[in-house]
Each structure stands twice: as C-alpha cells, then as structure tokens.
C-alpha cells in the first residue's frame, strides 16, 4: 500500500501519469488504445481517492476527457465513408500532441537538474568589502528579484569552518580533562575567579566543554558559584568537599 502511495504522489499531474502508463504499456503515443488507457488511468485515480490523497481536479478533468474518448471509440465505425477527409479530428491526436509537448519539457527539466547539480560543485568567495563603493547616488533601480538573486548567490557560496581566532591550541578537550584544569586553576587561586574568566577560548566547542565542566563540578560540590545580586557577575570558588 505504501509503495502505491509514494508512486502515485510522485506524478506531476495527469499528463505525467498518462506518460507513465503509455511507457509501461508500451503503447504507440500516436495510436492510443482509448479503452485500455482509460481503464488504467481510472484505476490509478481510484487508488488515489481510496488512499484519501488530495486528488487534484485536473486528474478528474482528464478522466472525463478519457471517458469521452473511450465512448467515442466504441461507437460504430464511420470509416466506411473513407472519402470523407473532412472528418473531425480524432481527439486522440490532440491528446498525443499535449503529451509530446509536455514530455519535451519534462526531459528539459531533467537536463536542467543535471546542470544544477554540476553548478553546486563550483564555489566563489564573497566580494571584498574594499570593492564596495559607498558613494552610490541617484535613483535606485532594483527589484525584489535582484535582492533574492543576490541572496541565492550567497547561499551557494561555501562558508568554511572558521579557524579559532587568537588562541592556537586546537586540541579537543574532554569534559573530564577540562574539569581537572578548572579545579587546578581554582585551587591555586586564593581569590574567587570571575565566571567569565574561566573561559579562555572563544571557540564554541571549548566554551561548551568548559561550561559543562563547571556544571559537573557544581553538581559534585567541588566548586561554589556565588552572585551578589541579579545580573551581577558570577564568582567561582573552590570549595565544598575538599578532601
């Protein structure tokens, strides 16, 4: 059942579904067997409804067109009047024309997708700030689309992981190691140490590790954190259960 759902959901509309059926049934698009294709099409649409998918009205319009085509094909054959070249157009021709037209763009979409994928492999860099002129004047002639285009251009750039600034130590510390370092630092100090000063790196990972280490030390009563009042600085002292 699930497989059905996924499959049916993946059609881009009635024309896409019809193309799929034509391919599956190996039918000549210029000589569509009206009865067979209609039955197959209706069974798909039925399944969609049974699965309570939101069947777009276009599918139902196409169903009606197919049924009309099918009933026409079941009517007595007029082809005895072979000379009558002015016979009205076979509705199957119109359908074939639409299917071929749609198929053209469906395939073009596939080629665009390949180009899009290739493009994701190229990167540039942000324009240098010094290139930016600050003396632009006069009326502005830009649209929202220019802005969105620039924005997309930016999202295609790659932001590479920024190296840690200033401090050069890159070695990753575990929370345990960090706890040990903090403990040593606090025990060595006679004065309480300002909470902020316990973080000696601006790197996110290190900040988090240090913070977790402080929390853990508090939980183990190895340190005491105090504050004079709301929003005042936090101070940390070694304490609690020193052994």
């Amino acid at each position: 059942m699930m497989e059905y759902k996924v499959k049916i959901d993946s059609f881009e509309g009635p024309l896409d579904l019809l193309l799929h059926l034509i391919q599956q049934l190996e039918i000549d698009i210029y000589d569509i067997p009206a009865a067979e294709i209609t039955n197959q099409y209706l069974s798909y649409v039925n399944t969609m409804q049974q699965l309570e998918l939101d069947v777009a009205s276009e599918y139902l319009v196409m169903a009606a067109t197919l049924i009309a085509m099918k009933s026409r094909s079941l009517l007595p054959d007029h082809s005895s009047e072979e000379e009558d070249y002015m016979d009205e157009e076979d509705p199957r021709d119109e359908l074939a024309r639409r299917l071929i037209e749609y198929k053209k763009y469906k395939e073009a979409a596939g080629r665009l997708h390949e180009l899009e994928e290739e493009r994701t492999k190229l990167f540039s860099r942000p324009p240098a700030d010094q290139l930016f002129s600050s003396n632009a004047e006069g009326p502005l002639n830009v649209s929202i689309f220019d802005m969105l285009g620039a924005f997309q251009k930016m999202t295609r750039r790659k932001k590479l992981a920024v190296p840690p600034k200033a401090t050069v130590r890159r070695e990753e510390l575990s929370v345990e190691k960090r706890m040990k370092i903090l403990k040593e630092k606090l025990w060595a100090s006679k004065e309480p140490i300002r909470f902020d000063d316990l973080f000696d790196s601006n790197e996110r990972n290190e900040l988090v590790v240090s913070f977790l280490a402080i929390l853990e030390l508090m939980k183990q009563n190895e340190i005491v954190v105090s504050q004079k009042g709301n929003f005042a600085d936090l101070y940390v002292t070694a304490g609690g259960n020193e052994t």
Binding site: Y30, L122, L148, K153
Partner: protein
C-alpha cells in the same frame, strides 16, 4: 604581462559579484577587445594548469573566478552547511517551460504541464530564478514571467541561447511532411 596580475586581483576581489569586461577594461585603460583576449588566454591556461585550483568562468557579459569542479569534494569537507536544496521536479518543469518560452504567463505554463503551477512559480520567484516581465496583452492582463541572470548563474549558462536544445523526444514521429512528400514522389513516379 602586468595586466594579467591586475586582472587576477580584480576578479579575486570581486568574488561572486563578478565583473564585466567593460569594468575591467576601464580600470586597465585598454580596449575591450584586448581585454577579452587576455582573459581568454588566462582562462585557458588556468584550465590546463594542474597546479591551479581556480578558473575563470563567464556568463552573460560577466566574468568570475571560481574553484575548479574536481576540487569540490575537498571544499565540501570544510563546509559548515550542506549545499542548498536542489529544485523539485515541479519547479524544474515550470522553469524549463518559462526558460524556453519566455516571457510567458502562468496559464500558458499550466496548459503545458496540465496542472496548477502557483506554488512552483512562487518558489522560483523566491529563489530569484524568474521574475515578472510585464503583463500579457490578454484579458485580465496576466503577469508575464522570464528568467533572471541568477537563473543563468544557477545553471551555468553563458546566455539564454546556451540552453540545451529542446528535443522532440524519442517517440518516433510519423513525419507529416515526409508522408506528404513520399506520396508526392510516388505520384511523380507513376
């Protein structure tokens, strides 16, 4: 060749904003012809030189410095965020119809796709790939859509004429014209 050094500096500084031949020629105070010749030879030698990791691409009348495709995987390794999502099939079909028929109304797109197309059009607008390009001379004066330069950039096209040709598909076509001429010739043979 001092000019090549300056051009490299300019393209580097411009980054993904890119520069037109005219802008660079003005700074170097040389003819555009001469500039494009230098650019072409720089672009060629960058492609051929295995030691180099950047190349010069052009689209529209804009030139831009980019990393070489074969190094993409290495850059991805350091990237903080995954690549932006690629377009859905619905958006791609809509974009294809607009690109090959522009300017075109939403109704015309829906005629070809056989299904409502409001959402793909909204997505494409939000991505800056298509934009409104006036109004059709038809009842209700519907909005016309056309592709943008961002579209060219996103699909690595120099210009809209660079679009891969539309194929008639692999369905064997009984060629009306051939049939006609076939019969015509038969008639002549008699």
């Amino acid at each position: 060749m001092k000019n090549e050094s300056i051009i490299e500096s300019l393209l580097f500084a411009a980054g993904d904003e890119g520069l037109t031949a005219g802008q660079m020629a003005a700074v170097l105070n040389i003819q555009i012809d001469e500039l494009t010749k230098i650019l072409q030879s720089m672009a060629d030698s960058l492609i051929q030189d295995e030691v180099r990791g950047i190349m010069i691409t052009s689209f529209g009348d804009e030139y831009r410095m980019m990393t070489k495709k074969e190094n993409a995987a290495y850059i991805q390794q350091l990237a903080e965020k995954p690549s932006p999502k690629t377009l859905s099939q619905a958006a791609l079909e809509t974009l294809a119809i607009i690109a090959y028929n522009q300017p075109v109304t939403r109704i015309e797109v829906e005629d070809i796709r056989g299904v409502k197309t409001d959402r793909p059009i909204a997505t494409l607008c939000a991505r800056g790939l298509i934009e409104e390009a006036g109004r059709a001379d038809a009842p209700g004066r519907p909005i016309l859509y056309a592709t943008t330069t961002e579209f060219l950039d996103a699909f690595q096209l120099k210009s809209i004429t660079d679009l891969p040709p539309l194929e008639e598909g692999d369905i064997p076509m009984p060629q009306e014209a051939d049939l006609f001429f076939g019969r015509f010739e038969e008639a002549l043979d008699e």
